[in-house]
Amino acid sequence: MKALSQKRRHPFAFVALLLLGLLLTGGLYAAATTVNQAQATNTASEYDDEQVDEGERLFVANCATCHGMNAEGTDAGPSLVGVGAASVEFQVGTGRMPMQMQGPQAQQKPPQFNEEQTTQMAAYVASLGAGPAVPDDEYLDMEAGDPARGGELFRINCAMCHNAAGAGGALTEGKYAPSLHGVEPVHVYTAMTTGPQNMPVFSDSNIPPEDKRDIIAFLQTYEQQGTPGGFSLGFLGPVSEGLLIWTLGLALLIGSMVWLTSRSS
């Protein structure tokens, strides 16, 4: 202890301390991230080499312009190393990729590739580095989910951007949270695991797969039940209601007023 207290004013003591600190934080960070990765992944092992090769060909022909020949990313598009098969399943499966045009965010459009091709590209991207995988069917089965619990999770985690009825909502600078009506369960799931566009990632440590299934079950139940009160007016709440009473309501009233007073004037 004496040596330590004597040497603490040594010219190199500060440097040594700094090195020690850096090593510790770096080591801890590395350990922490591998733990996370281990949770979130599936590697390319579930795909065969043929799929990976075919996927690479498709990738080079359709995606490499923006994402780079080796998916390392360019100024026009991010690196795809480590984004996982789930990202491809979401982005390509919903038609967002290949992107129609640059803008605040990628627009949804009819998918350009079929399921087989999408899987092949997913296989290629998964082979580049570990990332979120396409979920097993058991997590997409709404029969097994609890819609009431899913609804609660949805309102806490999703409704602030996607609206309580999943109708979507505005974000800043022209970005937006899209409507969730008619979205495939697998795309809801992969959106949560990959956080596309401006969406945050809801990893499995944040919302476990079973809870994701509950959310999907809620969305499906909600969609299937229809609207008990008549036309939904876009599920937008008081604004579209106000618009209706000021347009249709007022028009019907004025029509009847003019009719009632037309005889005498």
Binding site: A148, A167, G237, L244, V258
Partner: protein, 583 residues
């Protein structure tokens, strides 16, 4: 009634007393009449004459939608339990089963899913409330832009303004009752506004919520306001409002035979009684159609109230929109300058939340300004006369322009209340909408004022042109000399009346008071008076009209048939209303 007493002799009274009807229904009617005095009521009110114009019916719509809302609301009270005690939902709406929620929300869900006709009545109640405030607003706009608030109706205008405020109160308290996330967000904004009041804000909020927000007191309190206090006040004020309409008699638009001394129209009995009765059912029908077809306030979407989430697309009902919008409009920082201040106090300082307080000023100014407007206008114009003939909006250009400016200001705030939906549905940037609205908030009213005033003056000039030279008939004639003319059709007597009977005084200039001094207030008044009246289009005078007719007579001798006819009737010396200075 005193006058009629003198007319009857003792024998006549006896005759009435001993009158025996011959049929059974006659006997029932006579029995009731002798005890209720129906004859007198019918004599007094049944002969009341009302002018006929579709714009006069918005007040009626407000009354009817209020009645419909009260009736459907009474139905809802049989099931709704305004309690914040918690329960576990076990009704038939699957996505909420097993969740913990307040009794208020659970019974609102019960009404929607488990009571027969409950959802329809809930929707009818809500749509009725939206229509109630809408009808009041449009009615007030009509009254404002036609100048119906002028002497002697200023007090009734104030009663109307109070009714509007009460309508907003009734709507907001009702919106907050179901205790789901959306209504809770609304209450949280109210809580925030109250807490923004310097020094005492926190106390006021604690009084309202019975402790820290949300507490478990506020729903029952809002409920007594919503079903008892506010509706009772509305009912009383409606009675006062209608009584004053009867006392003042209804206003009318200028037209043939209509003067400041008469009312041209139909009597209540039987014409208006039938029309108004029928109209109630038309309004009911429209509301039932909408309530049965369009979903409103799908409260099962929002989930039980929880102070943590705020959902996208959370908005108040339309009439609270400007309050919401102006909060969204207000920046919290100007550059790096924070608008949140702290007032130093001995107990450590109170925060002054200017981003919440400043936005309340324009809304408060609109609503308070509304109350005092009749006196402001009378003060500026110096007009002390009674007015029973309405202004056509173009004939009061400055008032119309000012009204349009205020409406524009309101619309900007209102639109900002839905800036997120405008952004998503028109593919715009939320930020851009906000920045532009901040500019338009100040610039919009100015543009609206100038444009409206110019349009009004242009329309007046057009009226003048038509009165003096007739409508362009769209027929081009060539004279033997090769000159081209467009044939003009002179307006009919009826149309002419509407075109020329208005007043356009000239600016009056500052007047000295009793001591012979021109005070500063008087100078300000005179200045405003000049702004008010300096742009004016003179109404067509009789001399001008006759001169124009003569001119036409010489010009188009072959085409002046209509002109000659109207000239004949004008020069025959009958009293006409063409000349506004004539009465």
């Amino acid at each position: 009634m005193s006058a009629s007493k003198e007319k009857y002799t003792e024998a006549q009274y006896l005759e009435v007393d001993q009158y025996e009807p011959k049929t059974q229904s006659g006997r029932i009617a006579n029995y009731v009449d002798t005890r209720v005095g129906g004859t007198n009521i019918v004599r007094e009110f049944g002969r009341k004459v009302f002018p006929d114009h579709w714009t006069f019916m918005f007040g009626e719509v407000a009354l009817y939608s209020f009645i419909i809302t009260v009736l459907s609301g009474a139905f809802l009270t049989f099931w709704f339990d305004p309690s914040m005690s918690t329960t576990r939902y076990s009704g038939s709406y699957a996505p909420l089963q097993g969740l913990e929620m307040s009794m208020a929300y659970a019974t609102a869900l019960e009404l929607s899913f488990d009571v027969r006709g409950g959802l329809f009545m809930r929707q009818l109640h809500h749509w009725g409330a939206l229509l109630f405030v809408l009808a009041m607003s449009v009615h007030m706009l009509r009254v404002f832009f036609t100048g119906a608030f002028r002497k002697p109706r200023e007090l009734n205008w104030v009663v109307g303004c109070s009714l509007l405020i009460l309508g907003l109160g009734a709507g907001f308290t009702g919106y907050s009752l179901p205790d789901e996330v959306l209504s809770g967000n609304g209450l949280r904004i109210i809580d925030g506004m109250l807490k923004a009041v310097p020094v005492v804000g926190t106390y006021i909020s604690f009084f309202l919520f019975g402790g820290e927000f949300p507490g478990n007191e506020v729903i029952p309190r809002l409920y007594s306001l919503h079903i008892f206090i506010i509706p009772a006040l509305i009912l009383i004020l409606i009675a006062v409002h209608l009584f004053m309409v009867v006392v003042h008699k209804h206003t009318q638009y200028p037209g043939p035979g209509r003067t400041e001394r008469n009312v041209v129209g139909y009597p209540v009995g039987p014409v208006y009684a039938a029309k108004a009765g029928g109209f109630f059912f038309i309004v009911l029908g429209i509301l039932c159609f909408i309530a049965g077809t369009f979903q409103i306030n799908a409260l099962w979407n929002y989930g039980p109230y929880d102070p943590s989430p705020v959902q996208a697309g959370a908005q108040p009902d339309w009439y609270i929109g400007p309050f919401e919008g102006v909060l969204r409009l207000m920046p919290g920082y100007l550059g790096d300058f924070s608008l949140e201040w702290v007032i130093p106090t001995p107990w450590g300082g109170n925060s002054l939340a200017l981003p919440v307080l400043i936005p309340m000023l324009p809304v408060a100014a609109i609503f308070l300004g509304m109350f005092v407007w009749p006196w402001i206008e009378a003060w500026i114009t110096g007009d002390k006369k009674e007015h029973h003939l309405l202004d056509r909006p173009r004939n009061a250009p400055t008032r119309t322009a000012f009204g349009a400016a205020v409406v524009t200001n309101y619309l900007i705030m209102w639109g900002m209340g839905s800036n997120d939906l405008i952004a998503t549905h028109f593919g715009l940037s939320l930020n851009d909408i906000t920045y532009w609205s901040r500019v338009l908030f100040f610039l919009g009213p100015v543009i609206a004022y100038i444009l409206t005033k110019r349009i009004c003056l242009a329309l007046q000039r057009k009226d003048r042109e038509v009165a003096l030279h007739g409508h362009e008939a769209g027929v081009i004639e060539v004279s033997p000399e090769g000159e081209f003319h467009e044939r003009h059709k002179m307006p009919s007597e009826y149309e002419l009346w509407t075109l020329v009977s208005y007043e356009a005084p000239e600016p009056s200039g500052p007047q000295p008071n009793a001591k012979g001094k021109v005070t500063l207030t008087e100078k300000i008044r005179a200045r405003l008076n000049r702004i008010w009246f300096e742009d004016r289009v003179e109404p067509v005078s009789r001399e001008e009209y006759l001169e124009a007719l003569e001119h036409h007579g010489h010009d188009h001798e072959t085409t002046g048939l209509e002109a000659a006819q109207s000239q004949e009737s004008v020069t025959s010396g009958k009293p006409h209303g063409h000349d506004p200075h004539g009465h």
